[in-house]
Amino acid sequence: MTQGCPDIEVLLAEVVEGSGPLLEHARACEHCSAILEEHRQLEKDLFRLADPLPPPDFTQLVMARVAAQRAPMHLNVSLGLAIAATAFGLGIFTLASAGGGVSTVGALAGSALITAKSFWVGTQKAVSLLWAAEALPMAVSLFIILLICLFALKRLVGDSRVFSEARISG
């Protein structure tokens, strides 16, 4: 590179644009035009490179691994919502057509709410008493339960890392 010669990346950017003062310089400068010519030749050679063929049994290898997997689960949200809405509608219709059914369900729901509240209060008392008496065994048990839950969740969800990495929104 001689003094006054531009940075090659800036010059290449101007080559793409097709005009500019650096390009004018390159036309007059032997050093820069030689580099540009090398780049042109290199581009030509690079464009002629081809991807190599994969091994002949590549598709079979992939499909053997695919066959060992469970079929991909396709979550159809709209279909699920439609089924849920239909079931709910049918339930309401049945209750309404039975006459007096709605009030019975209301009484049952109220009763269930009261039972649940008393159960919650009782559980809270039992846990606080247990904690006061046997804190360490209880903490260990809770930790083991937490670990089992996390392990089960991981098995259920599988490896979804690929999507955060793929950077293509799904």
Partner: protein
């Protein structure tokens, strides 16, 4: 695909697209998104549809893996893993986007993971790659660059850093657009050209240096 076109007397015939027009529209869509039907079938558990998808894009996927990993056995392994992950997560794939780019992004990330894990490249891997890359079918058919020139180009190519190799491979070897490359790599499309210039200049310098040595 068979089209059933029901005409409605309430609308003038000119407002209703003819069956030919609909067929043409569907054909255009199929041409624009050739993977769509196979993806939908594969999601329903049709494995031969997925095999068809694999066959249609295995070469660029394997090619990119080989250029990044520089080892045929590892490239094959990683490319298989990329397809397997694509199959497992097909429900997350947006079929309006190119399927090959999606799998390419998965394969690229797997390659980068492996490169990070690999402490340093073994010398036999380079030798293996030198034997592999020029033996590609298309290169033999075209015979455009003679073996010696291609070997020296591939050799200089393999010395470049991963980020240069991937951008050169995607742009020149696979003829991807800068927008597609940006989507695979996960960067702004405007940065791709600058990366290409930088990578090409490094390659030119590398080739000049090896010519001087020889």
């Amino acid at each position: 695909m068979r089209i059933n076109c029901v005409t409605n007397a309430a609308f003038p015939a000119s407002l209703i697209p003819s069956s030919l027009a609909i067929q043409s529209m569907l054909a255009d869509e199929a041409k624009a998104q050739p993977w769509k039907a196979d993806v939908i079938a594969a999601r329903r558990g049709n494995q031969s549809a997925f095999a068809s998808l694999v066959r249609s894009i295995q070469r660029p996927i394997f090619g990119l893996c080989l250029r990044l990993l520089r080892s045929e056995s590892e490239a094959s392994e990683v490319a298989q893993e990329a397809f397997l992950r694509a199959y497992q997560h097909l429900n997350r794939y947006d079929e309006n986007k190119p399927f090959d780019l999606w799998v390419m992004a998965i394969a690229r990330n797997l390659c980068l993971d492996l490169l990070r894990r690999r402490a340093r490249m073994k010398s036999e891997d380079v030798d293996e790659m030198r034997d592999t890359l020029p033996s590609s079918e298309k290169s033999q058919e075209e015979g455009a660059i003679d073996r010696e020139e291609r070997l020296s180009l591939e050799s200089a190519f393999s010395t470049l850093p991963t980020e240069d190799r991937e951008v050169l491979a995607l742009y020149y070897v696979q003829k991807r657009t800068t927008k597609e490359i940006a989507e695979v790599i996960g960067v702004a499309p405007g940065t791709i050209m600058a990366r290409l210039f930088r990578a090409r200049e490094k390659l030119r310098k590398q080739m000049t240096a090896s010519k001087e040595v020889s």
